[in-house]
Amino acid sequence: MYRKCGERGAKIMVVFDKPKALCDVPLHYCPGCTHGIVHRLVAEAIDEFDIEGKTIGIAPVGCSVMAYDYFNCDMIEAAHGRAPAVATGVKRADPSKIVFTYQGDGDLASIGMAETVHAAARNENITIIFINNAIYGMTGGQMAPTSLPGQVTQTSPYGRDVKLCGFPVKVCEMLSELDGAEYIERVAVNNIKNINAAKKAIKRAFQNQIEGKGFSLVEVISSCPTNWGLTPANALKWIDEKMIPYYPLGVYKDRSAKGERIV
């Protein structure tokens, strides 16, 4: 508990500041883009576990391609979709290190689907932070594997027609069916309550790795005000109204909670 100023023995306490694992540089993301929030949550987890010195992050191709400039730990920029394979290499090279990937929906669920699924199937002891904002942001708003049915994008200008381009990929539901995956949770960052839950999930995904439990993935429902054509505030509402009903939040797999262990 913090005491109020003026109370006996009270002193000024910092209740919130930028985590140390986040570099002191401006983020290039659009105004109101929630990538920054997730970056901060990851950095806070790194700070709170005090693992900055032994953590290696893998950046994807997409909006967060320059994440290598934002995290204070060692960083690797991977080819599009290949971050889980690169992370596998780094982790196998030195299992005592903490390895995470930070990937968007195009990177993880389209071009890199094979790498994602097989890293999970192998129960690779890595942490994956998966940003699902239902669109390709960096290239200017094309249809993503997670774009909602009917969603208008640059490459689905009449709305995503599921007869022509199929249905969105529900990554958590799919991966949770794999025996290999240790921990799969879907969270959102559109309000304080959800952000706090997201923080818990991200910390858990790192803790699992520290404890050697294996493949942990947190899908973060995130916003893209620019390419959704919404104000930052309305984009957060859109998450509540459209995204979360299609992508329900929650823990999809938690082998430890079930008492399942890998022999």
């Binding site: 570099c23 900055e52 010195g53 032994k54 953590t55 290696i56 893998i58 391609v65 320059m66 290598y68 400039d69 995290f71 204070n72 730990c73 060692d74 960083m75 690797i76 920029e77 991977a78 080819a79 290949r82 394979a85 690169v86 992370a87 596998t88 290499g89 780094v90 982790k91 196998r92 090279a93 030195d94 290190k97 094979a114 790498e115 699924v117 097989h118």
Partner: protein, 355 residues
């Protein structure tokens, strides 16, 4: 006296890699290089190493990218179609200046092609394979012993120049059994890799492994710097074998299995009084340009013996500034030229028949 063991070429590569300090292997099954993976699958778990059968060639080369980023010696092996899949990773390795060792035991192409020996990935390996301006050091062994010794050499030069070094073998080299002296392999330890992403330990600025440069002037600068490094490679790393070249008026150019076949033909031609010799490039890049240029002072005709539709012959012509006569003696699709075919070609050249 050194102990020799009888090994397949593919196994010699695998064992030599372990001797060179490689403890991480990633691959995907494809004929005719499978013995490399099989050997690693048996050996690596027993020496605390990693053997991982990846979900694809693409994943395998990116796992290589990861281990290399972490500063350790690492390899993958494949055959032609698989190397095409690795093209993306090879380009990224080059762009991020990461050392790696890649083996291509070639088979006939294009497409799915066949599973018999070929040398038709010469362009792919010496000209790139992936996108962008980059080079790989390409070694072409012509014996099982060289499969081993060039593997060690490849790890060392990859580390030294922070680039990919490739063994470009073919199905024959991979499957052939010969006695190998492994005890004679001398390995230089890997240099200190201060650039590696091994964790900052909170003692240094964070390292970044990256190939993205959005500012054109920066990207130009790193490209120029990389090519300065490549110039050093061209100056210092050229390897070749000259055979009976002192008085040669006809010069055979051949590497790998084609060079072994050619040697028999040359011996026969010499017996028939024809002044013929051979230059066998051991590094295909850097190509022994100057050796060929010098040979052109005496030789009037160059015969390129290849298991391709004529790929190395372009480098022979470039090196000799197109001043001589040139003949292509080739078989493709998994076929191998017989010594008689090469001999016929040499005899034609001696008679001035250029076909």
């Amino acid at each position: 006296m050194a102990d020799k063991v009888l090994m397949k070429g593919n196994e010699a590569i695998a064992e030599a890699a372990i001797i060179a300090g490689c403890r991480h292997y990633f691959g995907y099954p494809i004929t005719p290089q499978t013995e490399v993976a099989a050997y690693m699958a048996k050996k690596m778990p027993k020496i605390g190493g990693t053997f991982l059968q990846a979900e694809s060639e693409i994943a395998a080369i990116n796992m290589v990218y990861g281990v290399s980023s972490a500063g350790k010696r690492v390899m993958t092996s494949s055959s032609s179609p698989g190397i095409s899949l690795k093209g993306e990773g090879l380009s990224y390795l080059a762009g991020a200046d990461l050392p790696a060792f890649v083996v291509n035991v070639q088979r006939g192409g294009p497409g799915l092609g066949g599973i018999q020996p070929s040398q038709s990935d010469y362009f792919q390996s010496t000209r790139g394979g992936g996108h962008g301006d980059y080079r790989m050091i390409v070694y072409a062994p012509a014996s099982v012993q060289e499969m081993a010794s060039l593997t060690v050499k490849a790890f060392e030069s990859a580390d030294k120049y922070r680039m990919t070094a490739m063994i470009l073998a073919d199905g024959t080299m991979g499957q052939m059994m010969e006695p190998v002296d492994l005890a004679s392999l001398k390995v230089n330890p890997a240099p200190e890799k201060l650039w590696a992403t091994t964790g900052t330990g909170k003692k240094r600025e964070h390292n970044i492994i990256n190939s993205l440069y959005l500012k054109p002037e920066e990207l130009e600068k790193v490209n120029f710097e990389r090519y300065e490094r490549y110039q050093t490679v061209e100056a210092d790393e050229v390897m070749y074998e000259e055979y009976l070249m002192n008085d040669a008026e006809i010069c055979v150019a051949a590497f790998g299995i084609a060079a072994r076949v050619s040697k028999n033909a040359i011996n026969e031609a010499r017996a028939r009084g024809i002044k013929v010799g051979m230059i066998r490039p051991i590094t295909l890049w850097p190509f022994p340009k100057n050796v060929f240029k010098k040979a052109a002072e005496k030789a009037h005709t160059f015969i390129s013996v290849e298991l391709s539709m004529g790929q190395m012959i372009e480098d022979v012509k470039l090196s000799t500034e197109c001043k001589a006569n040139y003949l292509l003696c080739n078989r493709v699709g998994g076929m191998i030229p017989l010594p008689e075919q090469v001999l016929k070609c040499i005899e034609n050249a001696a008679k001035g028949e250029l076909k």
